[in-house]
C-alpha cells in the first residue's frame, strides 16, 4: 500500500549549503501491517511522512501511496490517507463534533454516510461526552482523541501517525496505541513514527531505524535482534546509531 523507492529530500541552507533531510530511502508497508519509523529527533521521520502525505515534494526518487504517485496524483493520495501528528491541529472555536464533521465533508462523504460514520467513530473512541466541547477547552487527551477521529472519519486504507504520543501521559498514550492496534486488525496499512523504542516493540510488525536521513537497518524486531546480536531493543537502537556515527556504515543490506 505504501511503496517508497530511493526517496531523497534536500533543502538549501544558508550555513550548510545543501542539506539532505532524507537520503535514498526505500521501504514498503503492506495492508494489515504497522511499520515503525524509529529515529532520534531530526532524523528525517517527519520529512518522510510529509512527503507521503503530499505536503512536501520529493527531490529525488518515488513514493506511491494506495497506488498513486505522491508527486503526480497528490489529490488522490490525500483522499486515501489519514494523517495524524503530535501537533493535533484542533481549531479552538469548533466543537469536537463540528470539527470531525467538517473534515468528513471535505473528504466528500455523503451526508447520511457521514452522520453514520460520525456516530460510529464517536462511539468507538468513547468521545460522546466531549462532542460539544470547544477545541480551546479540551485537554491534550481529548484533543488527541478528536485528532484520531478526524484521521479515520473517511475510513482511509492508509494511516500515517507522526509521533502521535509526544506530550501525552502514559494512560492516554496507551489508549492511543490500543486504538492504532485495532486499526491494524481492520486491514489498514499503518506507518508510525516515534523515537520511543518501547512503543515500537509493542506495536510494530516491522521497523526501520532512521538517522540523519538514512535508513540504518530494517526488519522485524526479531530479525534485527538476531542480526545485531542484541536482544534488548533499546540497546539495539543505541548500537546501530552509534555505529553509524563512528563508521558511517548503514546495515540495510543483509
Amino acid at each position: 500500500m505504501i511503496d517508497v523507492r530511493h526517496l531523497s529530500k534536500y533543502f538549501d541552507d544558508l550555513r550548510l549549503g545543501r542539506v539532505y533531510a532524507l537520503k535514498d530511502v526505500t521501504f514498503d508497508v503492506q495492508p494489515g501491517e504497522i511499520f515503525g519509523l524509529l529515529g532520534p529527533n531530526g532524523a528525517g521521520k517527519t520529512t518522510c511522512l510529509r512527503i507521503l502525505s503530499t505536503v512536501l515534494r520529493p527531490s529525488e526518487g518515488h513514493a506511491e501511496v494506495a497506488g498513486f504517485d505522491v508527486s503526480s496524483h497528490p489529490t488522490q493520495v490525500r483522499q486515501n490517507i489519514g494523517f495524524m501528528s503530535g501537533n493535533t491541529g484542533i481549531y479552538d472555536r469548533m466543537t469536537a463534533w463540528e470539527l470531525v464533521e467538517y473534515y468528513g465533508r471535505l473528504y466528500g462523504l455523503p451526508e447520511d454516510l457521514l452522520q453514520q460514520r460520525l456516530a460510529e467513530v464517536f462511539e468507538t473512541l468513547q468521545m460522546d461526552d466531549i462532542r460539544d466541547v470547544l477545541g480551546a477547552k479540551m485537554s491534550t487527551g481529548m484533543k488527541q482523541k478528536v485528532s484520531i477521529a478526524r484521521t479515520i472519519i473517511h475510513d482511509p486504507p492508509v494511516l500515517i501517525f507522526d509521533e502521535p504520543t509526544s506530550g501525552l501521559d502514559v494512560l492516554v498514550a496507551r489508549a492511543l496505541l490500543k486504538a492504532i492496534e485495532s486499526l491494524r486488525s481492520q486491514g489498514k496499512s499503518i506507518i508510525f513514527s516515534t523515537h520511543i523504542m518501547r512503543e515500537v516493540e509493542r506495536l510494530c510488525d516491522r521497523i526501520a531505524i532512521i538517522h540523519k536521513g538514512h535508513i540504518l537497518t530494517m526488519g522485524t524486531i526479531e530479525e534485527l535482534g538476531e542480526k545485531h546480536n542484541q536482544p534488548d531493543t533499546e540497546e539495539l537502537f543505541f548500537d546501530v546509531i552509534s555505529k553509524y556515527e563512528q563508521t558511517g556504515e548503514t546495515m540495510t543490506s543483509p
Binding site: 533543502f11 544558508l14 489529490t75 490525500r78 491541529g89 469548533m94
Partner: protein
C-alpha cells in the same frame, strides 16, 4: 476545483471568525459604538466650547460712531456685523458704559489709585448686566455679584493698560525727536521695552482676550470728518498721524486671543465698511467707488451638490481605510494564525485543493472587509446626521452642507466597495499566508496599509479627478470613480463608462493577488519555514560562495530595484546639470546625460551583479552567436512594428496624461539640428540598445527564467522594462516592445538580436521625430505619411501592410524552436 469545498471552507472560516470575540468586536461592535461615542464627545466639546465665550473689553464704548457696533444692551457685537449671526454669542463684550453711569464714574476715580478691593465697588448692584439681559447659561448660572466683580477687575486692568498705552505713545513721540544712538534714546528704548512687558503682563493676567480702546471724542471726530469729506473741504483737515484711531490689543501667541481677535476683526471690518458706505453716500459718491472692478460671481453648485461634495470626499477615503482594516485582521488570523496554531498542515493534508482553500479563505476575508466598511460608513453617516440635526448645521456651515446624498448615489458606495474589498482581501491574505506568525503578518501588512493611506490622501485632494489612466491604478481607480459618482447625477452619467475599466482592472488585480496567495501554498519553504535568525555575514558569504551560472529570482528583482533607486537618486543631479548648461548647449548636455545614465545607472548594476554573483557571464547575459534568422528578425521586426507603434500611440493619445515638460525637452532634442546625427543615434539608439538589453534581457530575465517559466519571465521583464521608462506613454509602449524583445532573446538564446532590434527601433524613433522637417524634400515620405494633429502619421496602407508582415514575422518567431542550454537544464 469544487464549489462544494470552497463553500465548506468559507462557511467554516466565517463561522470561526464569528465565534471570535475580537473579530466581532472589530467588525461590528466597534463601528456601532465608536462613531456615536465620538459624536457625543464632539457634541460635548462643542457645548463646552460654546459655553465659554471670549471676553472682549471695550473702553470708551460711548465714543463709538454710528452705526451702532454693539447691540442694544451693549454686551454683544450686533448680529448684523457677522457673516454667521450666531457668532455674536462667541464674544462677551465688557464695556465701561453702563446705565448707572454715575456710579461707573466713581468707580473709575477709585481705580486710579489702584485700590482693586475698594468695598464701594463690590457693593454696587448691576442688575441689568447679569439678570435682565438674555445672556447664555454660563453667565446666568454664576452669581451676579461674582460676574460683576470679574467685570470690574477686567475693566480695571483695561484702564491700567490704557494708561500705559498713553505713556507708550508719549515715549514713542519723544523717541522720534531724539537722535538715534544718543544715550537718551537708549534710555527711552529701555523704557518702552519695560512698558511693553508691563502691558503684556497686565494683559495676560486680566483674562481679557481682546481689548479695544476707543479714543475719547472719536464719534465726534468721525462725524466731523464725514461732514468735511461730504463738503469736500480741506478746512480743518488733520494730519494723518494726528487722526484719532481706536487701538485693538491682542496676543496672537495665545489661541483664545487669536480666535477672539479673528471674530472681532470680522465684525469691525464689516462695520467699517458700513461707515465707509455712509460716508460715500453723504459725499454723493457711488457705493462701489472702492471696488472699481467688482466682478460678478456666479456659483452653479446646487444644494445637493454641495452636500455631495463633503460626502464625496469623506466616503471614498473612509471606504478604503475601513475595507483595508476589515481585511487586515481576519486575513492575519486565517493565514498566519492558522499556521501558528498548527491547523494549516492538517488542512493541507485534506483532499481540499490549494486553490479551494485560498478561495474559501479569500471569500471570508472579503465578507468581513465588506461588512466592516459598510457598517462603519453607515454608523458614521447616521451619527453625523443625528448630530447635525440636533446641533443645527450652523457651526459646520463653513465646511459645506451635510444633508444626505440621494439613495442612488449611496448605491455607488456599495458597488465600489466590492472591488476595493476584494483587492485588499486578496493582497492581505497573500501577505498573511507568507508570514510565519501573526506577529510577522502584522509586520508584512503594515507597508500595505501605509501605501494604501498614501493613495487615499492623494485621492482626497479635490484637484485629482478620474482619468483613463488613473482608472487602471489599483485603489485609486475605484476611489476616484466613487468620488466622481458622488458629486452628482450630471457627473455620474459621464463617468459611468469608467465602470468598465475600473471593475475589470480591479478584478484582474484581485485575481493576481489570489494567484500569488495560491502560489504561497505551493511553496514548501513558505509553508514549513522554520524561524531562523537572519545572519547578514552568512548570507553575503552564501551569495559569493554558492554562485551559480545565472542569477536567481531575488537577484533579478534586486537589480531592477537598484536601477530604479539609482534613477531616483540621480534625478536631482541630472536636472541640476541640465539647468546649469548654457542655453545653446542644453541639447548636447542632455545627450551626454543620457549616455551617462545608460552606462552608470542601467548597464553597470547589471554587469557588476553578473560578475560578482554568477559564474557564467555568457549564460547570464546570453552572449552567444545566434542563428542567422534571428539576426534577420532583429532587423526586420522593429521596422514593421514601428508604424504600428506610432499608430497605437496616437490612437491612445487621449488615454494618457500630458507629457511633462522635461520629457518634451528630451523629445525636442531629437529634432535639434545643431547636434550631429551620429551623436543623437549614439545617445538615443546605441547606448540604450546595449545598456538596457544588458539589464533587462540580460540579468533580470535570466533571473526570472530560473523559476522555470519562460513565458512569465518574458512578461515580467517586459513589464519592468516598461516601468523603468516612468512616463506613462513610454511605459505602455516599452512594455509591449519588451515582450517582443524578451521573446526574441529567449528563442534565439542570445542577447544580440534583441540589441539589434532595440537599436533599429530607437533609431526609427529618432528618424520619425524628424519627419516633419524631412517631408518636404522626400517624395517617399510624402507618399507613405500624412500630417495630422498629432504630427506625422503613416498612411493607412502602410500601417496595414506593416500589420500583415508583423503578424507573419511574429508567428515565425513564435514558432521557432527555443534555444536550450543543455547545462542549465541540468
Amino acid at each position: 476545483m469544487s464549489w462544494r469545498n470552497i463553500r465548506l471552507i468559507f462557511q467554516r472560516e466565517t463561522g470561526d471568525q464569528l465565534r471570535d470575540r475580537r473579530t466581532l468586536f472589530m467588525v461590528v461592535v466597534l463601528p456601532l459604538l465608536l462613531y456615536p461615542a465620538l459624536g457625543l464627545g464632539m457634541l460635548q466639546m462643542s457645548l463646552l466650547f460654546s459655553e465659554q465665550p471670549r471676553t472682549v473689553v471695550m473702553l470708551g464704548a460711548d465714543h463709538l460712531p454710528e452705526p451702532p457696533l454693539l447691540n442694544e444692551t451693549g454686551n454683544r457685537i450686533a448680529e448684523q456685523w457677522f457673516t454667521l449671526p450666531s457668532d455674536t454669542e462667541t464674544l462677551n463684550i465688557v464695556t465701561d458704559v453702563d446705565p448707572t453711569a454715575a456710579k461707573e464714574e466713581s468707580a473709575e476715580t477709585d481705580t486710579d489709585d489702584e485700590n482693586t478691593d475698594a468695598p464701594s465697588e463690590t457693593e454696587v448692584p448691576f442688575p441689568d448686566a447679569a439678570g435682565g439681559v438674555d445672556v447664555d447659561e454660563a453667565t446666568a448660572e454664576t452669581a451676579p455679584d461674582e460676574a460683576e466683580e470679574e467685570r470690574q477687575v477686567q475693566l480695571l486692568a483695561a484702564r491700567e493698560i490704557r494708561t500705559r498705552l498713553t505713556q507708550l505713545a508719549d515715549l514713542r513721540k519723544k523717541q522720534a525727536t531724539l537722535p538715534e544712538e544718543s544715550p537718551q534714546a537708549a534710555e527711552v528704548v529701555s523704557q518702552i521695552d519695560s512698558l511693553l512687558s508691563e502691558i503684556s503682563e497686565l494683559f495676560a493676567a486680566s483674562n481679557i482676550q481682546v481689548l479695544i480702546i476707543i479714543p475719547e471724542g472719536f464719534a465726534a471726530y468721525m462725524e466731523a470728518e464725514n461732514e468735511r469729506l461730504a463738503t469736500r473741504s480741506n478746512e480743518g483737515a488733520i494730519a494723518p498721524e494726528d487722526r484719532l484711531r481706536p487701538t485693538i490689543i491682542r496676543n496672537s501667541a495665545n489661541e483664545k486671543s487669536l480666535i477672539a481677535y479673528g471674530r472681532v476683526r470680522e465684525a469691525l471690518d464689516s462695520w467699517e465698511q458700513a461707515i465707509l458706505n455712509q460716508r460715500l453716500e453723504m459725499a454723493n459718491l457711488p457705493a462701489d467707488l472702492t471696488r472699481p472692478v467688482n466682478a460678478d460671481r456666479l456659483d452653479l453648485a446646487k444644494e445637493e451638490e454641495l452636500a455631495a461634495n463633503v460626502w464625496s470626499r469623506l466616503f471614498p477615503a473612509m471606504l478604503i481605510i475601513m475595507a483595508m482594516t476589515g481585511a487586515f485582521h481576519p486575513a492575519i488570523d486565517l493565514g498566519a494564525g492558522e499556521k501558528e496554531r498548527g491547523t494549516m498542515e492538517t488542512l493541507l493534508i485534506s483532499p481540499a485543493l490549494r486553490g479551494e482553500i485560498v478561495i474559501g479563505k479569500f471569500l471570508t476575508v472579503l465578507l468581513f472587509s465588506l461588512v466592516t466598511a459598510m457598517l462603519n460608513l453607515a454608523s458614521m453617516g447616521m451619527t453625523g446626521l443625528h448630530i447635525l440635526n440636533s446641533a443645527g448645521g450652523g457651526s459646520l456651515q463653513g465646511l459645506g452642507d451635510f444633508s444626505v446624498p440621494p439613495v442612488a448615489q449611496l448605491m455607488w458606495v456599495a458597488v465600489m466597495a466590492v472591488p476595493l474589498a476584494s483587492l485588499f482581501a486578496s493582497l492581505s491574505l497573500a501577505f498573511a499566508l507568507f508570514a510565519r506568525s501573526s506577529k510577522e503578518g502584522q509586520y508584512y501588512l503594515t507597508p500595505l496599509l501605509t501605501v494604501t493611506l498614501g493613495l487615499t490622501v492623494f485621492c482626497l485632494s479635490p484637484a485629482v479627478e478620474i482619468t483613463p489612466f488613473y482608472s487602471l491604478v489599483p485603489v485609486m481607480g475605484p476611489a476616484l470613480l466613487l468620488k466622481g459618482l458622488l458629486l452628482g447625477e450630471a457627473a455620474a452619467s459621464n463617468l459611468s463608462w469608467y465602470l468598465i475599466p475600473v471593475l475589470t482592472t480591479s478584478l484582474i488585480y484581485s485575481g493576481l493577488g489570489l494567484y500569488w496567495a495560491m502560489d504561497q501554498f505551493q511553496r514548501e519553504d513558505v509553508l514549513f519555514r522554520e524561524s531562523e535568525r537572519f545572519d547578514l555575514r552568512l548570507w553575503v558569504r552564501h551569495l559569493f560562495r554558492d554562485k551559480e551560472a545565472t542569477p536567481n529570482f531575488s537577484e533579478a528583482v534586486f537589480c531592477f530595484v537598484l536601477v530604479m533607486l539609482l534613477q531616483f537618486a540621480m534625478l536631482n543631479v541630472f536636472s541640476g546639470a541640465l539647468n546649469s548648461a548654457p542655453p545653446g548647449e542644453q541639447g548636447m548636455a542632455m545627450v551626454k546625460l543620457l549616455v551617462i545614465q545608460q552606462l552608470a545607472i542601467i548597464a553597470s548594476p547589471a554587469l557588476f551583479m553578473g560578475i560578482l554573483l554568477t559564474t557564467s557571464l555568457k549564460k547570464t547575459f546570453q552572449f552567444r552567436w545566434p542563428k542567422a534568422k534571428f539576426w534577420l528578425l532583429g532587423l526586420t521586426l522593429p521596422i514593421v512594428l514601428h508604424p504600428l507603434a506610432v499608430e497605437l500611440q496616437q490612437r491612445l493619445y487621449w488615454f494618457f496624461p500630458k507629457l511633462p515638460a522635461h520629457a518634451q525637452a528630451a523629445l525636442a532634442t531629437l529634432g535639434d539640428s545643431s547636434i550631429p546625427w551620429y551623436v543623437i543615434l549614439l545617445a538615443f539608439a546605441l547606448a540604450p540598445a546595449i545598456c538596457e538589453e544588458l539589464a533587462f534581457r540580460g540579468l533580470i530575465m535570466s533571473g526570472f527564467r530560473r523559476k522555470g517559466r519562460d513565458g512569465l519571465a518574458i512578461v515580467f521583464s517586459g513589464i519592468l522594462f516598461g516601468v523603468m521608462h516612468m512616463i506613462p506613454q513610454q511605459v505602455f509602449n516599452a512594455s509591449l516592445l519588451g515582450l517582443v524583445l524578451g521573446l526574441l532573446a529567449v528563442k534565439s538564446g542570445s542577447i544580440f538580436p534583441a540589441m539589434l532590434f532595440h537599436f533599429v527601433n530607437n533609431a526609427l524613433g529618432v528618424l520619425h521625430g524628424n519627419y516633419a522637417a524631412m517631408r518636404e524634400n522626400s517624395p517617399l515620405l510624402q507618399q507613405t505619411t500624412i500630417v495630422s494633429e498629432f504630427g506625422v502619421q503613416y498612411s493607412g496602407w502602410v500601417v496595414l501592410l506593416a500589420l500583415v508582415i508583423a503578424i507573419g514575422l511574429l508567428t515565425w518567431l513564435f514558432r521557432s524552436e527555443k534555444y536550450v542550454d543543455a547545462e542549465l537544464q541540468e
